[in-house]
């Protein structure tokens, strides 16, 4: 008990210095937490993928379409429950800066395979009835203040022309991990228009999504689908939905790796700030350590005293940093909602931050501790301020 009291008293001997140290640590821990949260947010699309869904795309690359005729053939394969398909439309709303995902989807099957997108029955009915109807995520509708019945024109980049749509429904996510920023419209609208303007590009789908009966058979069913289309004009590549999503997420792999390095460097900054403070305190207290040794305290007492103080300050810094993190992550989550539907610190980030603080606390104490332990009593007493 006495030792703990002494440690706390020591820690606050220089109030300003300790306050600044804690502030520095807290800022760094907050930055660490934000970067980690950002990385998780980046991967959230892939994390939300269901294990019982496969995605089939062209083996050449995602930019090559597949014939619509594959749908029936995939449906016949054992273990396949339901097949839907979609095309990336890549339309621009007024200005390329207003980026959001827009897809052509097959109305009857798409929302069956994606039960996490919740659509009210009356919206669903309107979507099924009207050829150029669109269903959009609530966050996207909020972003551009779209209301049901509004006409929205997208400029086609892949499919030329000016495409008028009418917002006929909104969807919400089943939980907060679901992206609510997508724009979906009917595949048959796209296809009929293409049939009139560019017949060669009709009857083509971007990719298939397949619901399978048993997630454990994913790789077996994938192989069956791909071998079905081997040596055809459009060979396929089937993978789990997670792998499919990851292939997009990893387009930023280099940047994510850079961020991971930076989050490591932050630990270095924390260490430097704390080590500086601890080295200063230890230098000033050399005579005290000599007194303690004279009275009969042993080396391990000094280790506990200095190390304990270091850990104590590191702990306070980490805790305040995590409190900062929670305070700032709310407004940030709102600000980046259009790009990152899910921006929330994960428990693993908290654990990592605490562990990092503990390691830093120990590392920062190494130099002062060795100095205190190695010092001869007589030298310590001789120090004059």
């Amino acid at each position: 008990m006495f030792v703990i009291k002494l440690i706390i008293r020591n820690a606050f001997r220089h109030k300003l210095r300790t306050f600044l140290t804690i502030l520095g640590l807290a800022l760094a821990v907050m930055a660490f937490g934000l970067i980690r949260t950002f990385i998780t947010a980046w991967y959230s699309g892939a994390d939300a993928a269901a294990p019982d869904r496969l995605a089939t795309r062209s083996a050449v690359s995602i930019i090559f379409p597949l014939p619509l005729a594959y749908k029936e053939q995939i449906e016949k394969i054992d273990g396949v429950e339901e097949v839907t398909y979609a095309n990336w439309f890549g339309g621009i709303y007024v200005d390329p800066q207003n980026f959001f995902a827009n897809f052509a989807v097959d109305p009857p099957t798409f929302f069956k395979i994606y039960p996490e997108y919740l659509v009210k029955p009356e919206y669903m009915e309107a979507f099924n009835r009207e050829r150029n109807a669109a269903i959009v995520g609530t966050k996207l509708a909020d972003r551009f203040s779209w209301k049901i019945g509004d006409q929205v024109n997208l400029i086609g980049t892949i499919y030329p022309g000016d495409w008028p749509f009418v917002i006929r429904g909104l969807y919400t996510g089943k939980d907060e991990t679901i992206d609510e920023t997508a724009f979906m419209f009917r595949w048959d609208y796209l296809d009929e228009t293409m049939r009139q303007t560019m017949p060669g590009r009709a009857g083509q789908v971007g990719w298939y999504v397949i619901k399978i009966s048993d997630p454990n058979r994913a790789s077996e069913i994938s192989d069956k689908i791909d071998s079905r289309f081997d040596n055809s004009l459009a060979e396929t590549l089937t993978e789990t939905e997670k792998a499919f999503q990851l292939s997009f997420v990893q387009m930023a792999g280099t940047i994510i790796a850079g961020l991971q390095i930076i989050s490591g460097l932050i630990i270095g900054v924390i260490l430097l700030v704390l080590a500086n403070t601890m080295a200063m305190s230890a230098r000033e207290r050399i005579p005290e350590y000599a007194y303690l040794k004279t009275i009969g305290f042993r080396s391990f007492h000094l280790v506990g005293l200095v190390g304990g103080e270091s850990l104590f300050i590191a702990g306070l810094g980490a805790v305040s940093g995590l409190i900062f993190l929670y305070l700032v992550s709310k407004p940030i989550a709102i600000a980046v909602a259009t790009f990152f539907p899910v921006f929330k610190p994960q428990p693993v980030t908290l654990i990592l931050a605490i562990c990092a603080a503990a390691v830093v606390g120990v590392a920062a104490a190494i130099f002062p501790v060795t100095r205190a332990v190695r010092m001869k009593i007589i030298e310590g007493l001789r120090v004059v301020e």
Partner: protein, 387 residues
């Protein structure tokens, strides 16, 4: 004024503390400089890809070659325009190309990447004088042979000389490797346009590129052709077209980098403050002595501020030295604007050096200001009495 020497010697009186502070600031400057070097490297690669003399045409509103589709008829109309420069044999310096993206595996099995395959015509090399064959030979017309950009040959399976890569239902042999001098072409596979059109079953073109006899005629030509209903095309100077492809990535890196640097710098400023407050506390008696010798409050303030700025400047220089090694680092990432792999190097510029040093000085100034004010406000009697 307090001699400069005094300030410098003070820095070295507490080596450990000074060193730790210098390292902290160095780390921050390193991150600050590195993110800017990444953006500048990306921009440099793309800007240097395009030429001032070349013009690229893609289908209206298609943004990049990938989405663009141009018919043979449109291509023939455009190739007859009078502004187009001619080769020695009198044919226009005009090329029709096809651009597709295929998925290949990286050499270290580090996943897949999207790679550009460009079907090029006989004039394509002449239009891009920076593209030089560095090993092997060009493909033989009518064969399934291709040449690979240098960065691609290093990074992707099957893209080295003598290797084969499978796409479009055929095996293609890489017969040559070319170096396009740090441009985006280094991340592409080039083959014969006719072969590519067959393999991908696309009897169309993605882009048309031509050289202007006089670059100044571009604006007038663009205005005239965009009114022509037979040509639903967007004409862009090649340089502008490629520069625009750095937009999404560079603004993303820029925003991330700035936010991270600001938060980082707060940490370093706090570190400098701790050091300087401790310096003031330790030297209270000296300050009293200096004041009684007749040095003004202002010169005390100056001396401490100068010390802090010197520490941060050393940190800044250290950080810059470390980051200049990044100049040798080449990274490869998917460029979001083109959906395909692009290799580029970090690039340091004089502007980055200057802003990094200003950033370091700024941290030292802010961190040292309050402690210096405290030092200058000490009363002579009190400070001489300090133990």
């Amino acid at each position: 004024m307090i001699p400069f020497n005094y300030t410098v010697k003070n820095m070295f009186s507490r080596k450990m503390t000074t060193l730790l502070t210098v390292l902290g600031i160095g780390l921050v400057v390193f991150v600050f400089a590195a993110q800017m070097m990444m953006t500048s490297g990306l921009k440099r690669t793309l800007v240097s890809t395009g030429s001032d003399y070349n013009v690229i045409a893609i289908r209206k509103a298609s943004q990049t070659e990938m989405q663009s589709i141009i018919t043979l008829e449109q291509a023939s109309i455009l190739s007859a325009e009078p502004e187009i420069s001619r080769s020695s044999d009198g044919t226009p310096l005009f090329t029709k190309e096809i651009y597709v993206v295929i998925n290949l595996t990286k050499r270290d099995n580090a996943g897949n990447g999207n790679v550009v395959v460009r079907g090029v015509g006989p004039k394509s090399m002449e239009l891009r004088p920076q593209v030089k064959l560095m090993a092997g030979r060009m493909w033989n017309p009518g064969s399934s042979e291709i040449v690979a950009g240098k960065s691609l040959a290093e990074r992707f399976k099957g893209c080295g000389i003598g290797e084969t890569v499978r796409f479009g239902g055929r095996d293609w042999t890489v017969v040559g490797v070319f170096d396009a001098g740090g441009t985006a072409f280094n991340s592409e596979l080039w083959g014969d346009i006719d072969q590519m059109q067959n393999a991908f079953d696309r009897p169309v073109f993605s882009s048309l590129t031509f050289r202007l006899a006089d670059p100044a005629t571009f604006e007038a030509m663009k205005e005239r052709l965009e009114k022509d209903p037979r040509l639903p095309l967007d004409l862009k100077r090649e340089k502008v077209y490629y520069a625009e492809q750095s937009r999404a990535m560079s603004s993303f890196i820029g925003i991330m980098g700035t936010v991270i640097s600001i938060v980082f710098s707060l940490g370093a400023i706090v570190g400098a403050m701790i050091t300087m407050y401790a310096a003031v506390a330790n030297r209270t008696k000296e300050i009293g002595t200096l004041r009684s010798l007749g040095f003004s409050r202002f010169s005390i303030l100056n001396s401490f501020l100068l010390e802090s700025v010197l520490i941060s400047l050393s940190g800044g220089i250290l950080g810059l030295i470390a980051s200049s090694f990044m100049n040798f680092v080449q990274v490869s990432t998917t460029n979001w604007d083109t959906f395909s792999e692009l290799a580029f190097s970090f690039a340091i510029t004089p502007q980055i050096i200057i802003s990094s040093l200003i950033f370091a000085l700024f941290m030292g100034f802010i961190g040292g200001f309050l402690p210096a004010v405290r030092a200058s406000r000490l009363k002579i009697v009190d400070s001489l009495r300090a133990v």
